[in-house]
């Protein structure tokens, strides 16, 4: 069930940021529930204490009250009752989290690399931003993130989301902004000297403004195009075929590989997703493809930065995808209005300056790539 389709009471809680994402009202509603419970118990306990303290205050210096040792009924009662309440909070909190955790299948992808002390964003269309992120309203945006150095945490308070970025691996986070405006970006994991300066703003724009902003980056190569250049320059092409057919190279053919399962040595199957590609570049012998020699060189962060790996991944994802751009505009299943997921084919045809995105959010790491048949309603 989609997060937006969950019924959630629209509550505004005091001293809270704006609600600017589909997730925010759920968080605020849960917060309101907890506030009510906390205020209730605080008032009850404090009230009882004050009442007892006054009513049963010592009146004579030598009075000794009759002892009362306990009551099984009360003990069981005030164990079960808080446990029950706690379980309702657990279920609500866990279900909210679980639904928000899984990035939706169709989403506009943005790559994020954190480093001391800035956030670097790259759109699939090639625009790069530092400490700023422009996104369209109403679009699902999926962030694939890592860091070049220490652990940071990308935090959007108005969206009520954050996720740590950990060196050596990718983490993911997604959101759908529900209102236009300018909102904060913070780093929320202490990372050294300029931790408090490592932030900026996210600009949520309506579709036309976003298209204009994209067009303003004319000339910027898409991430996949940059990845393709790297693929040639760094010698990947010398071992890895990118077209079907032809002679098998020294390494596995990458055509159509992304999203599929790959047999590896020492028995096993691994899904070829962003993490596997990154690992194969940084540590080729870790999960060596079955039937191949361990001859791939290691590429350290001096040879290929995290951003460059992300560009290579963007390129590899295009290999074997259909040329027609399924824009994921409608495949999201959302019944609400505007195009999600970036440039539509119409926009591309009519705007010669708009870069041809090789694909716009039509495949996720978990699914095999769409081959043009999944999106029935454009």
């Amino acid at each position: 069930m989609l997060l937006t389709q969950l019924t959630v009471p629209q509550v505004t809680v005091p001293f809270a940021p704006e609600q600017a994402s589909t997730f925010a009202p759920h968080v605020d509603a849960l917060y309101a529930y907890l506030l009510i419970i906390t205020i209730f118990f605080s008032v009850v306990i404090t009230g009882l204490i004050i009442f007892f303290a006054i009513k049963y205050r010592r009146r004579r210096p030598d009075e000794v009250p009759r002892p009362r040792h306990g009551s099984m009924v009360l003990e069981v009662g005030w164990t079960i009752m808080p446990l029950g309440i706690a379980m309702t909070i657990f279920v609500w909190g866990a279900s909210t989290y679980f639904k928000a955790y899984r990035a939706p299948h169709q989403a506009m992808e943005v790559y994020v690399v954190g480093k001391q002390w800035m956030w670097k964003f790259q759109h699939q269309t090639g625009q790069r931003e530092i400490n700023e992120l422009h996104v369209p309203v109403g679009a699902r945006v999926k962030l694939t993130m890592t860091t070049e150095d220490v652990i940071h945490s990308l935090y959007f308070p108005e969206f009520r989301i954050k996720q740590d970025v950990v060196p050596g691996r990718y983490s993911q986070m997604w959101f759908e902004a529900t209102k236009t405006g300018t909102f904060y970006i913070f780093c929320a994991e202490y990372c050294g000297t300029n931790h408090s300066g490592m932030g900026g703003h996210i600009y949520v724009m309506d579709q036309s403004a976003y298209q204009q902003w994209l067009a303003g980056g004319a000339g910027a190569e898409s991430a996949a195009a940059q990845g393709q250049k790297l693929f040639q320059e760094r010698g990947c092409a010398s071992c890895h075929q990118t077209e079907p057919g032809g002679q098998q190279g020294r390494g596995p053919t990458l055509y159509g590989l992304f999203g599929h399962q790959q047999a590896i040595q020492n028995d096993g199957l691994v899904t070829v997703d962003e993490s596997y590609i990154r690992e194969s570049i940084r540590n080729p012998q870790a999960k060596l493809a079955l039937g191949f020699q361990p001859i791939m060189p290691v590429f350290t962060d001096r040879q290929l930065s995290e951003e460059q790996i992300l560009q290579l991944i963007a390129y590899i994802r295009t290999l074997g995808q259909q040329a027609t751009t399924t824009t994921g505009a409608s495949a999201s299943g959302s019944t609400t209005g505007p195009t999600t997921g970036g440039t539509s084919p119409e926009a591309q045809r009519s705007n010669p300056l708009a870069p041809t995105a090789p694909r716009q959010g039509n495949s996720s790491p978990q699914l095999p790539p769409a081959r043009g048949g999944t999106n029935s309603n454009r």
């Binding site: 001293f15 907890l34 306990i45 204490i49 928000a100 009520r160 202490y190």
Partner: protein, 577 residues
Amino acid sequence: MSTEQTAGMPRHEWRSRFPTRNYLNADYGIKSWLLTKDHKRIALLYLISVTFFFALGGAYAAAIRLELLTPQGDLMQSHTYNKVFTAHGVLMVFFFLIPSIPATLGNFLVPMMIGAKDLAFPKINLLSWYIFMVGGILTFSALLFGGLDTGWTFYAPYSTSFSNTYVVLGGLGVFINGFSSILTGLNFIVTIHTMRAPGMTWFRLPLFIWSHYATSLIFILGTPVIAITILLIALERLAHIGIFDPALGGDPVLFQHMFWFYSHPAVYIMILPAMGVVSELVATHTRKPVFGYSFVAFSSLAIAVFGFLVWGHHMFVSGQSVYAGMIFSLISFAVAIPSAVKVFNWTATMYKGSISYDAPMLYAFAFIGLFVIGGMTGLFLAALGLDVHVHDTYFIVAHFHYIMVGGAVMGYLGGLHNWWPKITGRMYPEGWARFAALVIFVGFNLTFFPQFLLGYMGMPRRYHAYPTDQPVWQVLHVMSTGGASILGLGMLIPGVYFLWSMRYGRFAPANPWPATGLEWRTPSPPPTENFAVTPVVTWEAYEFRPVEEMAVIGPGKSADVPGNQNPLSHAETEEIP
């Protein structure tokens, strides 16, 4: 002075004859203190040390709050600020909160409450203090040389591969300090098992003992893990072994698992002794047994056990699996229940009690109220979907300060006041004590309540500067700093009058409140051997008995023993209307 002479006399007029021989004057000279085996003297050594670290940690806190008065980072450079909050955390957590109650009140009272002459291993007890001092001096040196800037949480890879500060030296101090905890825990467990007086069965023990027993379990099972973790940090820094460095095949999140595996139980180390104190305060100052004794006792054990199973709730957004997150969230809710049970039982104890407003009871009231807020905000954090928003913000900071200051420190202060007459043979001035308690309570809430609001609004923690376009944030920060000033001043007041009381305070009788524990059946201050004859316990916990039966335990007629006054002229219990 016998009870016949004191019967009917207003309490403020009778005085004890100060016992001529007690543990304070049993021997003189610095060597008699630094080489003592007496658990009571060791407790005082610890009292002086932890007070020093508390004051130092508090000074760092003042610096933090001063910087945050304005959004810009204009008081100190960010690098300095990072060292300041790290120092505050390291000093307060490892050198104040963890040792404070167990090493001062625990050391003093555990043998006395069970009717023993000392702990099982008196020399190891002294060794614990020396280890604590060595660790403290090393960490203090690290601060003097230039500090460390990793945060008290030492997260890798910042602490292992990026920080240029005295991580190994500071960490070494904490590592060594851990052994002090382990030895204290060992001492308490063995003592409680093997040295209880005849008739002192497990379920006649004061709840303070149950709490310290549970705490000691955590000491010995948890502390070795932080020791190894710090050692690995040092090895990583010095020898690049690669355990936390992904470039070498390591995992930075592994550090977090190891660190929090100890550091979550550590927070129960900080709160369980305070809960034990509160049980004693409530029983003493309402003159009733704690309601639901066995439930409170078992709750202490349950908290200790469950506390080891929830560490992942510090890591919901760190990259652990969503299923792990759910399990940790579920158990985190479960661990809140025993604490709630205790709060309900303390409240029920007050029903139809005889409630005094003496300072210890005021601190007990403060503890219960503030612990409810702190504990319930823990439920906010255990809820996965909500924690994503407030993790690493000031909401967390407010939550743990409500528990650690509003809970543990209130418990500590209440305990100091409650047992001050026994420890020093003097009464503190009650009027000033009540005033200070009020100032501390007001100052505390003004400091930390605004931080809940700041956190929900998105203010991250460990921030040297915050957005200048949020006037509400600055207003809340100014309130918080104002509160911190009041809190700091309030804390100074007991510092002054406790010292004053040691010279000018009214002499205290053996049992001023009175209370029922064995520790009150000794003169104030007690002799070195605590009890002239081994007590034989034939009564239940918190049982008020006729005055003759609650007198100082000693040879000869109890009424003749000095310091044996008790304001209860009769002990028939009555129904409170």
